[in-house]
Symmetry: C2
DNA sequence: AACGTTAGCAAACACCGTTAACCATAAAGT
DNA sequence: ACTTTATGGTTAACGGTGTTTGCTAACGTT
């Protein structure tokens, strides 16, 4: 085991106040190049089309050299996933931020539409993020922590928007009396996992949130995976219809996309 | 191209009335053995763990010999998927058939629970069936037709149950006036794809059907893929809650699982 | 008995991830 | 200024993959 040399360029945390010794700079550069080429291969040939040897070939290196930057191919993919979550989050907040801060309805609409748009424009990347994961957890890989962080940031976008709806008391909450104890436990576990806490994170709210997320996630998955009945074509009409139903059910007034 | 020798054992259609010349018999046997071993590898090591060489090794053959039975690895996986759809359909109809024929509610509940149960008991197989497909269509492969057939049979199970609900007029249908023309076209396209026709296949009914399917499909996907927020654990409570909500919304009275 | 089909084989090609040993150079320490 | 160490690259190799080609031996049929 050649120590843990895969994570020394820690200087990308916010401001690059540290001068970043020349060596660190070129290391960060090649590290970025690797990820760039890997991403190109990914979107060009799908997952499975990205290989260390192909990356090395494309940048005039040999495959073993890449092990100075990533401890394995899985580790590279882990790092990529973190970047993709960041990009997805950025795209969503961008689209959402184009609307006035007090227009929660518009921001939610924009955010969810941006989510779908990114997924369709980056199918392979979406599969890597939300597709089936063979191994439950690879906490051992260096870049795993970064992934978890970006995941949380991604979830936080929707959580904060939903939270504002709750604050305004616009979300009709279900009767929690019908909830089984197991369901209650599940919801709390989910809240802890997603980092959703506070006075508004009631069981009813969590139930509504999960229901909404499942519907939209499921639809986008079907579209990207080309799964079951909807094997072809652009599912925007159906997505908009679902969006309308889902948002209406939580007290948000739907607006058609402006285009 | 060595002709199309991969599909001569065509004698499994219904009754094996044809004596099936000795040669055909052993061919069918090895063909079955290949699929069996492939399935074992699949469920043991996940997708990606199934390889021609591993299969050949396990049955004391060499990899190229398998090309006498399948035109490629993808073709083998295609054939496997057809078998899995058949198995899934069988399991669902079994569970559903345990209830009286006039108890549509119970049959629907049982069918959907069986769907989830099979998915969880056969994660890798489910991923192959409903997971992301890289290539849109490989109509060229011999076993593609069989897959499509089994897919239709699978869909037909739920379609017929849903159809009976429609006949009984128990499903509250949405106001189709709010449907956009694009949505309408989408729904009709979906109906044609799934083979859902008849007087009950109205636009409203199609809309309801898709909404229900998306919710349950999405939830099972999240559970099997270990995707987004629900990265761990048994999601049965949440599934039952969703089941209750979904079925209640189409006029079916929910019953807790008898266990 | 003769002949064509079929189902296996070995060899080879082009990939893949990963490890080990090695080496030149850049940085750091004395 | 000289030595030492860490770094980032190399080549060679191991074991794995899908797939193609050519060959052979057995089988089924005529």
């Amino acid at each position: 085991m050649p120590k843990d040399t895969t994570f020394p360029a820690r200087c990308e945390t916010g401001a690059a106040s540290v001068p970043m010794s020349r060596r660190m700079r070129i290391r960060a550069a090649t590290l970025a190049e690797i990820k760039t080429i890997a991403r190109n291969l990914l979107s060009a040939h799908g997952p499975g089309g990205v290989s260390l040897r192909a990356i090395a070939r494309e940048m005039g290196m040999t495959a073993p050299a890449l092990y100075r930057y990533f401890s394995s191919l899985d580790d590279l993919l882990l790092a990529l996933r973190a970047e993709f979550f960041a990009e997805l989050s950025a795209q969503i907040t961008d689209a959402s931020g184009r609307l006035p801060a007090d227009d929660v309805d518009g921001r939610l609409l924009a955010a969810l539409r941006a989510f779908r748009s990114w997924a369709l424009a980056n199918r392979a990347e979406f599969i890597l993020l939300f597709g089936p994961r063979d191994e439950p957890f690879t906490t051992t890989e260096p870049h795993c922590a970064a992934l978890q962080h970006e995941k949380q940031r991604f979830a936080a976008i929707f959580l904060s928007l939903f939270n504002r709806l709750l604050e305004e008391g616009r979300v009709p909450l279900p009767d929690t009396a019908s909830f089984s104890p197991e369901l209650r436990a599940q919801l709390h576990l989910f809240a802890r996992d997603a980092g959703f806490a506070g006075a508004n994170a009631t069981e009813g709210a969590l139930r509504v949130l999960t229901a909404c997320w499942v519907r939209l996630y499921g639809l986008v998955c079907m579209e990207v995976f080309r799964s079951m009945p909807f094997t072809v074509g652009d599912l925007e009409p159906l997505f908009e219809a679902e969006l309308c139903d889902v948002l209406t059910s939580i007290g948000v007034r739907y607006r058609a996309p402006h285009s």
